[in-house]
Symmetry: C2
Subunit: 211 residues, 2 copies
DNA sequence: TAGTGGTCTAGACCACCGC
DNA sequence: CGGTGGTCTAGACCACTAG
Protein backbone atom coordinates (compact mmCIF):
# COMPACT_ATOMS: atom_id res chain seq x y z
CA UNK A 1 0.00 0.00 0.00
CA UNK A 2 2.82 2.37 0.89
CA UNK A 3 4.70 1.84 -2.33
CA UNK A 4 1.51 1.97 -4.37
CA UNK A 5 0.84 5.47 -3.02
CA UNK A 6 4.50 6.43 -3.10
CA UNK A 7 4.63 7.33 0.59
CA UNK A 8 6.28 5.77 3.60
CA UNK A 9 4.66 3.02 5.60
CA UNK A 10 4.29 5.30 8.63
CA UNK A 11 2.06 7.63 6.68
CA UNK A 12 -0.18 4.84 5.49
CA UNK A 13 -0.43 3.50 9.03
CA UNK A 14 -1.43 6.94 10.25
CA UNK A 15 -4.24 7.08 7.70
CA UNK A 16 -5.52 3.67 8.80
CA UNK A 17 -5.33 4.79 12.42
CA UNK A 18 -7.70 7.66 11.65
CA UNK A 19 -10.20 5.27 10.09
CA UNK A 20 -9.88 2.90 13.03
CA UNK A 21 -10.42 5.71 15.53
CA UNK A 22 -13.79 6.52 14.04
CA UNK A 23 -14.78 2.87 13.95
CA UNK A 24 -14.69 2.44 10.19
CA UNK A 25 -12.16 -0.39 10.11
CA UNK A 26 -10.78 -2.98 12.52
CA UNK A 27 -7.43 -4.67 12.49
CA UNK A 28 -5.62 -7.46 14.23
CA UNK A 29 -2.09 -8.68 13.98
CA UNK A 30 -1.43 -10.93 11.04
CA UNK A 31 -4.86 -10.75 9.47
CA UNK A 32 -5.94 -8.10 7.00
CA UNK A 33 -7.89 -5.05 8.01
CA UNK A 34 -11.68 -5.43 8.01
CA UNK A 35 -14.26 -2.84 7.03
CA UNK A 36 -16.76 -2.51 9.88
CA UNK A 37 -19.04 0.34 8.88
CA UNK A 38 -19.76 1.64 5.46
CA UNK A 39 -21.94 4.29 6.98
CA UNK A 40 -20.20 7.62 7.23
CA UNK A 41 -19.80 9.14 10.68
CA UNK A 42 -20.54 12.81 11.13
CA UNK A 43 -18.03 15.53 11.68
CA UNK A 44 -18.24 17.66 14.78
CA UNK A 45 -19.62 20.42 12.60
CA UNK A 46 -22.53 18.33 11.39
CA UNK A 47 -23.20 17.16 14.94
CA UNK A 48 -23.32 20.68 16.29
CA UNK A 49 -25.15 22.31 13.43
CA UNK A 50 -28.78 21.31 13.14
CA UNK A 51 -29.06 22.91 9.71
CA UNK A 52 -26.21 21.05 8.08
CA UNK A 53 -27.26 17.80 9.71
CA UNK A 54 -30.79 18.26 8.39
CA UNK A 55 -29.56 18.86 4.88
CA UNK A 56 -27.24 15.86 5.07
CA UNK A 57 -30.23 13.59 5.72
CA UNK A 58 -32.24 15.23 2.97
CA UNK A 59 -34.63 17.22 5.14
CA UNK A 60 -35.40 20.93 5.04
CA UNK A 61 -34.40 22.59 8.32
CA UNK A 62 -36.22 25.53 9.85
CA UNK A 63 -36.49 27.04 13.30
CA UNK A 64 -38.33 29.38 15.62
CA UNK A 65 -36.83 31.41 18.43
CA UNK A 66 -38.89 31.00 21.59
CA UNK A 67 -36.83 33.18 23.90
CA UNK A 68 -33.57 35.10 23.87
CA UNK A 69 -32.54 36.54 27.24
CA UNK A 70 -29.57 37.48 29.35
CA UNK A 71 -29.95 36.18 32.90
CA UNK A 72 -27.94 35.01 35.91
CA UNK A 73 -26.10 31.75 35.31
CA UNK A 74 -27.36 28.80 37.32
CA UNK A 75 -24.92 26.84 39.42
CA UNK A 76 -24.88 24.07 36.81
CA UNK A 77 -24.20 26.54 33.99
CA UNK A 78 -21.38 28.18 35.91
CA UNK A 79 -19.79 24.77 36.37
CA UNK A 80 -20.06 23.78 32.72
CA UNK A 81 -19.06 27.17 31.32
CA UNK A 82 -16.31 27.94 33.86
CA UNK A 83 -18.06 31.09 35.08
CA UNK A 84 -17.72 32.86 38.41
CA UNK A 85 -20.66 33.51 40.71
CA UNK A 86 -22.72 36.48 39.55
CA UNK A 87 -21.85 36.16 35.86
CA UNK A 88 -24.53 36.19 33.20
CA UNK A 89 -25.39 33.83 30.37
CA UNK A 90 -27.32 34.35 27.17
CA UNK A 91 -30.18 31.85 27.24
CA UNK A 92 -31.55 30.98 23.80
CA UNK A 93 -34.48 28.60 23.37
CA UNK A 94 -35.29 27.44 19.85
CA UNK A 95 -37.58 24.87 18.29
CA UNK A 96 -35.98 23.15 15.31
CA UNK A 97 -38.06 21.61 12.57
CA UNK A 98 -37.39 19.03 9.86
CA UNK A 99 -39.60 19.50 6.80
CA UNK A 100 -41.90 21.63 8.92
CA UNK A 101 -42.31 19.07 11.71
CA UNK A 102 -40.97 19.99 15.18
CA UNK A 103 -38.02 17.66 15.81
CA UNK A 104 -36.05 19.21 18.67
CA UNK A 105 -36.12 21.82 21.40
CA UNK A 106 -32.73 23.41 21.96
CA UNK A 107 -31.99 25.34 25.13
CA UNK A 108 -28.51 26.82 24.98
CA UNK A 109 -26.58 28.93 27.47
CA UNK A 110 -23.72 31.02 26.06
CA UNK A 111 -21.05 32.63 28.25
CA UNK A 112 -20.75 36.44 27.96
CA UNK A 113 -17.73 36.41 25.64
CA UNK A 114 -19.69 34.29 23.15
CA UNK A 115 -23.21 35.63 23.63
CA UNK A 116 -21.94 39.15 22.93
CA UNK A 117 -21.25 38.13 19.33
CA UNK A 118 -24.81 37.90 18.05
CA UNK A 119 -28.33 39.25 18.22
CA UNK A 120 -31.79 37.75 18.17
CA UNK A 121 -31.77 38.26 14.39
CA UNK A 122 -28.87 35.84 14.02
CA UNK A 123 -30.84 33.31 16.06
CA UNK A 124 -33.89 33.79 13.83
CA UNK A 125 -31.86 33.24 10.70
CA UNK A 126 -30.48 30.05 12.24
CA UNK A 127 -26.78 30.67 11.96
CA UNK A 128 -25.50 31.23 15.47
CA UNK A 129 -22.57 28.96 14.68
CA UNK A 130 -21.57 31.20 11.80
CA UNK A 131 -21.81 34.30 13.95
CA UNK A 132 -19.67 32.71 16.64
CA UNK A 133 -17.01 31.53 14.22
CA UNK A 134 -17.03 34.94 12.52
CA UNK A 135 -16.26 36.32 15.97
CA UNK A 136 -13.00 34.39 16.02
CA UNK A 137 -14.01 31.31 18.02
CA UNK A 138 -13.57 27.76 16.73
CA UNK A 139 -15.53 24.76 17.91
CA UNK A 140 -13.02 21.96 18.42
CA UNK A 141 -14.34 19.59 21.08
CA UNK A 142 -17.70 18.53 22.43
CA UNK A 143 -18.91 16.23 25.15
CA UNK A 144 -22.40 14.81 24.77
CA UNK A 145 -24.33 13.37 27.71
CA UNK A 146 -27.23 11.37 26.33
CA UNK A 147 -30.25 10.22 28.32
CA UNK A 148 -34.03 9.90 28.19
CA UNK A 149 -36.46 12.33 29.81
CA UNK A 150 -40.23 12.69 30.02
CA UNK A 151 -41.57 15.66 28.08
CA UNK A 152 -42.34 18.61 30.34
CA UNK A 153 -45.39 20.78 29.77
CA UNK A 154 -43.20 23.23 27.85
CA UNK A 155 -41.51 20.50 25.82
CA UNK A 156 -44.86 18.99 24.94
CA UNK A 157 -46.28 22.30 23.75
CA UNK A 158 -43.21 23.15 21.68
CA UNK A 159 -42.81 19.73 20.08
CA UNK A 160 -46.47 18.86 19.69
CA UNK A 161 -46.26 15.66 21.75
CA UNK A 162 -48.02 14.46 24.89
CA UNK A 163 -46.79 15.54 28.30
CA UNK A 164 -44.67 12.75 29.76
CA UNK A 165 -43.79 11.11 26.47
CA UNK A 166 -40.23 9.84 26.05
CA UNK A 167 -37.73 12.32 24.60
CA UNK A 168 -34.10 11.68 23.72
CA UNK A 169 -31.98 14.33 25.42
CA UNK A 170 -28.42 15.27 24.51
CA UNK A 171 -26.68 17.79 26.71
CA UNK A 172 -23.65 19.22 24.99
CA UNK A 173 -20.65 21.17 26.23
CA UNK A 174 -18.57 22.55 23.37
CA UNK A 175 -15.13 24.04 23.72
CA UNK A 176 -12.55 25.76 21.55
CA UNK A 177 -9.16 24.14 20.83
CA UNK A 178 -7.79 25.32 24.20
CA UNK A 179 -10.61 23.76 26.13
CA UNK A 180 -12.42 27.06 26.80
CA UNK A 181 -16.19 26.37 26.95
CA UNK A 182 -18.27 28.06 24.26
CA UNK A 183 -21.76 26.73 24.97
CA UNK A 184 -23.80 24.46 27.19
CA UNK A 185 -26.91 23.12 25.53
CA UNK A 186 -29.86 20.88 26.37
CA UNK A 187 -31.37 19.41 23.19
CA UNK A 188 -34.50 17.27 23.36
CA UNK A 189 -35.54 15.22 20.35
CA UNK A 190 -39.05 14.01 19.60
CA UNK A 191 -39.85 11.19 17.25
CA UNK A 192 -37.39 8.60 16.11
CA UNK A 193 -34.04 10.31 16.54
CA UNK A 194 -31.09 8.28 17.75
CA UNK A 195 -27.35 8.49 18.24
CA UNK A 196 -24.95 5.87 16.98
CA UNK A 197 -21.58 5.27 18.62
CA UNK A 198 -18.83 2.96 17.42
CA UNK A 199 -16.49 1.29 19.87
CA UNK A 200 -13.42 -0.82 19.52
CA UNK A 201 -11.48 -2.73 22.12
CA UNK A 202 -8.48 -0.49 21.53
CA UNK A 203 -10.10 2.90 21.81
CA UNK A 204 -13.39 4.32 22.80
CA UNK A 205 -14.82 7.57 23.92
CA UNK A 206 -18.11 6.27 25.21
CA UNK A 207 -18.96 5.77 28.84
CA UNK A 208 -22.11 4.71 30.65
CA UNK A 209 -23.11 6.81 33.62
CA UNK A 210 -25.52 6.61 36.47
CA UNK A 211 -26.97 9.92 37.66
CA UNK B 1 9.04 14.28 26.88
CA UNK B 2 10.68 11.74 24.58
CA UNK B 3 14.10 12.11 26.15
CA UNK B 4 12.65 12.12 29.65
CA UNK B 5 11.12 8.70 29.00
CA UNK B 6 14.09 7.49 26.99
CA UNK B 7 12.03 6.68 23.92
CA UNK B 8 11.74 8.18 20.48
CA UNK B 9 9.45 11.05 19.70
CA UNK B 10 7.26 8.89 17.48
CA UNK B 11 6.41 6.65 20.40
CA UNK B 12 5.46 9.56 22.61
CA UNK B 13 3.30 10.98 19.84
CA UNK B 14 1.56 7.63 19.47
CA UNK B 15 0.72 7.60 23.17
CA UNK B 16 -0.73 11.10 22.95
CA UNK B 17 -2.73 10.04 19.89
CA UNK B 18 -4.39 7.30 21.93
CA UNK B 19 -5.38 9.80 24.60
CA UNK B 20 -6.68 12.21 21.97
CA UNK B 21 -8.73 9.48 20.30
CA UNK B 22 -10.66 8.85 23.48
CA UNK B 23 -11.20 12.55 24.05
CA UNK B 24 -8.93 12.91 27.06
CA UNK B 25 -6.66 15.58 25.61
CA UNK B 26 -6.77 18.10 22.79
CA UNK B 27 -3.92 19.59 20.85
CA UNK B 28 -3.28 22.26 18.31
CA UNK B 29 -0.18 23.27 16.46
CA UNK B 30 2.18 25.45 18.41
CA UNK B 31 0.25 25.42 21.66
CA UNK B 32 0.68 22.84 24.37
CA UNK B 33 -1.68 19.92 24.76
CA UNK B 34 -4.74 20.53 26.92
CA UNK B 35 -6.44 18.09 29.26
CA UNK B 36 -10.14 17.96 28.39
CA UNK B 37 -11.57 15.24 30.59
CA UNK B 38 -10.24 13.94 33.84
CA UNK B 39 -13.04 11.42 33.90
CA UNK B 40 -11.95 8.01 32.75
CA UNK B 41 -13.72 6.54 29.75
CA UNK B 42 -14.76 2.93 29.89
CA UNK B 43 -13.25 0.08 27.98
CA UNK B 44 -15.38 -1.98 25.65
CA UNK B 45 -15.34 -4.69 28.30
CA UNK B 46 -16.86 -2.45 30.95
CA UNK B 47 -19.42 -1.18 28.46
CA UNK B 48 -20.53 -4.67 27.52
CA UNK B 49 -20.40 -6.23 30.95
CA UNK B 50 -23.09 -5.01 33.32
CA UNK B 51 -21.37 -6.65 36.28
CA UNK B 52 -18.00 -4.99 35.85
CA UNK B 53 -19.63 -1.66 35.10
CA UNK B 54 -21.70 -1.91 38.27
CA UNK B 55 -18.66 -2.66 40.39
CA UNK B 56 -16.71 0.19 38.77
CA UNK B 57 -19.36 2.66 39.97
CA UNK B 58 -19.46 1.09 43.41
CA UNK B 59 -22.78 -0.71 43.13
CA UNK B 60 -23.57 -4.36 43.74
CA UNK B 61 -24.82 -6.03 40.55
CA UNK B 62 -27.37 -8.81 40.45
CA UNK B 63 -29.72 -10.23 37.87
CA UNK B 64 -32.71 -12.41 37.13
CA UNK B 65 -33.30 -14.47 34.02
CA UNK B 66 -36.81 -13.88 32.69
CA UNK B 67 -36.66 -16.13 29.66
CA UNK B 68 -34.14 -18.25 27.78
CA UNK B 69 -35.40 -19.69 24.48
CA UNK B 70 -34.30 -20.79 21.07
CA UNK B 71 -36.63 -19.40 18.40
CA UNK B 72 -36.72 -18.31 14.75
CA UNK B 73 -34.71 -15.18 14.06
CA UNK B 74 -36.73 -12.12 13.13
CA UNK B 75 -35.89 -10.28 9.95
CA UNK B 76 -34.14 -7.57 11.99
CA UNK B 77 -32.07 -10.11 13.90
CA UNK B 78 -31.04 -11.90 10.73
CA UNK B 79 -29.83 -8.59 9.34
CA UNK B 80 -27.83 -7.65 12.43
CA UNK B 81 -26.40 -11.12 13.02
CA UNK B 82 -25.74 -12.01 9.36
CA UNK B 83 -28.05 -15.03 9.50
CA UNK B 84 -29.85 -16.75 6.64
CA UNK B 85 -33.63 -17.18 6.55
CA UNK B 86 -34.76 -20.03 8.77
CA UNK B 87 -31.86 -19.85 11.21
CA UNK B 88 -32.45 -19.74 14.95
CA UNK B 89 -31.32 -17.38 17.69
CA UNK B 90 -31.02 -17.84 21.41
CA UNK B 91 -33.21 -15.17 23.00
CA UNK B 92 -32.22 -14.27 26.57
CA UNK B 93 -34.16 -11.72 28.60
CA UNK B 94 -32.66 -10.59 31.88
CA UNK B 95 -33.41 -7.91 34.44
CA UNK B 96 -30.27 -6.36 35.85
CA UNK B 97 -30.22 -4.73 39.27
CA UNK B 98 -27.93 -2.24 40.98
CA UNK B 99 -27.92 -2.63 44.77
CA UNK B 100 -31.15 -4.59 44.47
CA UNK B 101 -32.96 -1.95 42.42
CA UNK B 102 -34.01 -2.87 38.85
CA UNK B 103 -31.86 -0.73 36.55
CA UNK B 104 -32.06 -2.34 33.12
CA UNK B 105 -33.90 -4.90 31.02
CA UNK B 106 -31.61 -6.68 28.59
CA UNK B 107 -33.01 -8.61 25.64
CA UNK B 108 -30.21 -10.29 23.73
CA UNK B 109 -30.26 -12.47 20.62
CA UNK B 110 -27.25 -14.76 20.11
CA UNK B 111 -26.50 -16.49 16.81
CA UNK B 112 -26.33 -20.33 16.94
CA UNK B 113 -22.52 -20.53 17.03
CA UNK B 114 -22.49 -18.33 20.16
CA UNK B 115 -25.69 -19.44 21.87
CA UNK B 116 -24.48 -23.04 21.76
CA UNK B 117 -21.73 -22.12 24.24
CA UNK B 118 -23.82 -21.71 27.36
CA UNK B 119 -26.83 -22.83 29.34
CA UNK B 120 -29.49 -21.10 31.38
CA UNK B 121 -27.28 -21.69 34.43
CA UNK B 122 -24.58 -19.48 32.95
CA UNK B 123 -27.21 -16.80 32.44
CA UNK B 124 -28.36 -17.12 36.05
CA UNK B 125 -24.84 -16.73 37.33
CA UNK B 126 -24.46 -13.61 35.24
CA UNK B 127 -21.36 -14.45 33.27
CA UNK B 128 -22.44 -15.06 29.70
CA UNK B 129 -19.49 -12.99 28.57
CA UNK B 130 -17.11 -15.34 30.34
CA UNK B 131 -18.77 -18.39 28.81
CA UNK B 132 -18.54 -16.86 25.34
CA UNK B 133 -14.89 -15.91 25.70
CA UNK B 134 -14.11 -19.35 27.15
CA UNK B 135 -15.63 -20.70 23.95
CA UNK B 136 -12.93 -18.98 21.93
CA UNK B 137 -14.71 -15.81 20.86
CA UNK B 138 -13.38 -12.33 21.54
CA UNK B 139 -15.46 -9.16 21.69
CA UNK B 140 -13.58 -6.54 19.73
CA UNK B 141 -16.06 -4.03 18.34
CA UNK B 142 -19.50 -2.74 19.20
CA UNK B 143 -21.93 -0.32 17.67
CA UNK B 144 -24.44 1.30 20.01
CA UNK B 145 -27.63 2.92 18.76
CA UNK B 146 -29.02 5.07 21.54
CA UNK B 147 -32.55 6.46 21.71
CA UNK B 148 -35.50 7.00 24.05
CA UNK B 149 -38.55 4.76 24.24
CA UNK B 150 -41.73 4.64 26.29
CA UNK B 151 -41.84 1.72 28.72
CA UNK B 152 -43.98 -1.14 27.41
CA UNK B 153 -46.23 -3.12 29.72
CA UNK B 154 -43.49 -5.75 30.04
CA UNK B 155 -40.76 -3.16 30.60
CA UNK B 156 -42.84 -1.47 33.28
CA UNK B 157 -43.48 -4.70 35.14
CA UNK B 158 -39.83 -5.78 35.02
CA UNK B 159 -38.37 -2.41 35.98
CA UNK B 160 -41.02 -1.33 38.45
CA UNK B 161 -41.88 1.88 36.60
CA UNK B 162 -45.08 3.25 35.08
CA UNK B 163 -46.16 2.16 31.63
CA UNK B 164 -45.15 4.84 29.12
CA UNK B 165 -42.39 6.37 31.23
CA UNK B 166 -39.20 7.41 29.45
CA UNK B 167 -36.50 4.75 29.18
CA UNK B 168 -33.01 5.13 27.72
CA UNK B 169 -32.49 2.40 25.16
CA UNK B 170 -29.14 1.22 23.79
CA UNK B 171 -29.21 -1.36 21.05
CA UNK B 172 -25.85 -3.01 20.67
CA UNK B 173 -24.28 -5.11 17.95
CA UNK B 174 -21.00 -6.67 19.05
CA UNK B 175 -18.53 -8.37 16.75
CA UNK B 176 -15.28 -10.28 17.03
CA UNK B 177 -12.03 -8.90 15.57
CA UNK B 178 -12.97 -10.07 12.06
CA UNK B 179 -16.31 -8.32 12.14
CA UNK B 180 -18.36 -11.48 12.75
CA UNK B 181 -21.44 -10.57 14.83
CA UNK B 182 -21.64 -12.18 18.28
CA UNK B 183 -24.78 -10.62 19.74
CA UNK B 184 -27.60 -8.19 19.12
CA UNK B 185 -29.03 -6.68 22.25
CA UNK B 186 -31.75 -4.25 23.28
CA UNK B 187 -30.98 -2.75 26.70
CA UNK B 188 -33.49 -0.42 28.38
CA UNK B 189 -32.41 1.63 31.37
CA UNK B 190 -34.71 3.04 34.02
CA UNK B 191 -33.78 5.84 36.35
CA UNK B 192 -30.97 8.25 35.74
CA UNK B 193 -28.63 6.34 33.44
CA UNK B 194 -26.85 8.23 30.68
CA UNK B 195 -24.16 7.78 28.07
CA UNK B 196 -21.31 10.22 27.61
CA UNK B 197 -19.53 10.66 24.28
CA UNK B 198 -16.48 12.78 23.58
CA UNK B 199 -15.94 14.34 20.18
CA UNK B 200 -13.14 16.26 18.61
CA UNK B 201 -12.98 18.11 15.32
CA UNK B 202 -10.34 15.68 14.09
CA UNK B 203 -12.01 12.40 14.89
CA UNK B 204 -15.33 11.17 16.08
CA UNK B 205 -17.36 8.04 16.03
CA UNK B 206 -20.70 9.57 16.93
CA UNK B 207 -23.50 10.20 14.50
CA UNK B 208 -27.03 11.47 14.87
CA UNK B 209 -29.73 9.49 13.11
CA UNK B 210 -33.35 9.91 12.24
CA UNK B 211 -35.41 6.74 12.17
C1' DT C 1 12.49 33.50 18.62
C1' DA C 2 12.47 29.15 21.22
C1' DG C 3 9.59 25.46 21.88
C1' DT C 4 5.87 22.65 20.61
C1' DG C 5 2.94 20.10 17.65
C1' DG C 6 2.09 18.16 12.69
C1' DT C 7 3.86 15.56 9.06
C1' DC C 8 6.84 12.51 6.79
C1' DT C 9 10.79 9.25 5.65
C1' DA C 10 13.54 4.90 5.82
C1' DG C 11 14.61 1.38 8.14
C1' DA C 12 14.46 -2.30 11.91
C1' DC C 13 12.44 -6.24 14.49
C1' DC C 14 8.69 -8.94 16.23
C1' DA C 15 3.98 -11.37 16.40
C1' DC C 16 0.56 -13.42 14.15
C1' DC C 17 -2.56 -15.30 10.45
C1' DG C 18 -3.50 -17.94 6.57
C1' DC C 19 -2.24 -20.54 2.83
C1' DC D 1 6.61 -19.31 5.28
C1' DG D 2 5.15 -15.02 2.99
C1' DG D 3 2.53 -11.15 3.96
C1' DT D 4 0.49 -8.19 7.09
C1' DG D 5 -0.04 -5.59 11.19
C1' DG D 6 2.23 -3.71 15.69
C1' DT D 7 5.95 -1.31 17.59
C1' DC D 8 9.90 1.52 17.67
C1' DT D 9 13.99 4.51 16.25
C1' DA D 10 16.42 8.68 14.47
C1' DG D 11 16.18 12.25 11.91
C1' DA D 12 14.14 15.97 8.82
C1' DC D 13 11.24 20.03 7.75
C1' DC D 14 7.32 22.96 8.41
C1' DA D 15 3.52 25.68 10.97
C1' DC D 16 2.18 27.81 14.68
C1' DT D 17 1.91 29.79 19.53
C1' DA D 18 3.41 32.07 23.37
C1' DG D 19 6.38 34.84 25.83
Amino acid sequence: MAERAGVSRGTVRHAYALLAAEGAIASRQGARRVVLATQRTQSLFELRSFSSWARSIGAEPSGRVISFDWRDATEEERRHLDLAAGEFVLDVVRVRLLDGVPAMVERTAYPPRVGALFTVDDAESGSLTEAIEAGGFTFANAEHTIDAVAASVDDAALLGVDVGSALLRARRRSTDPSGVPLEWSDDRYAGDASFVVHNTAAIDGLSRMRA
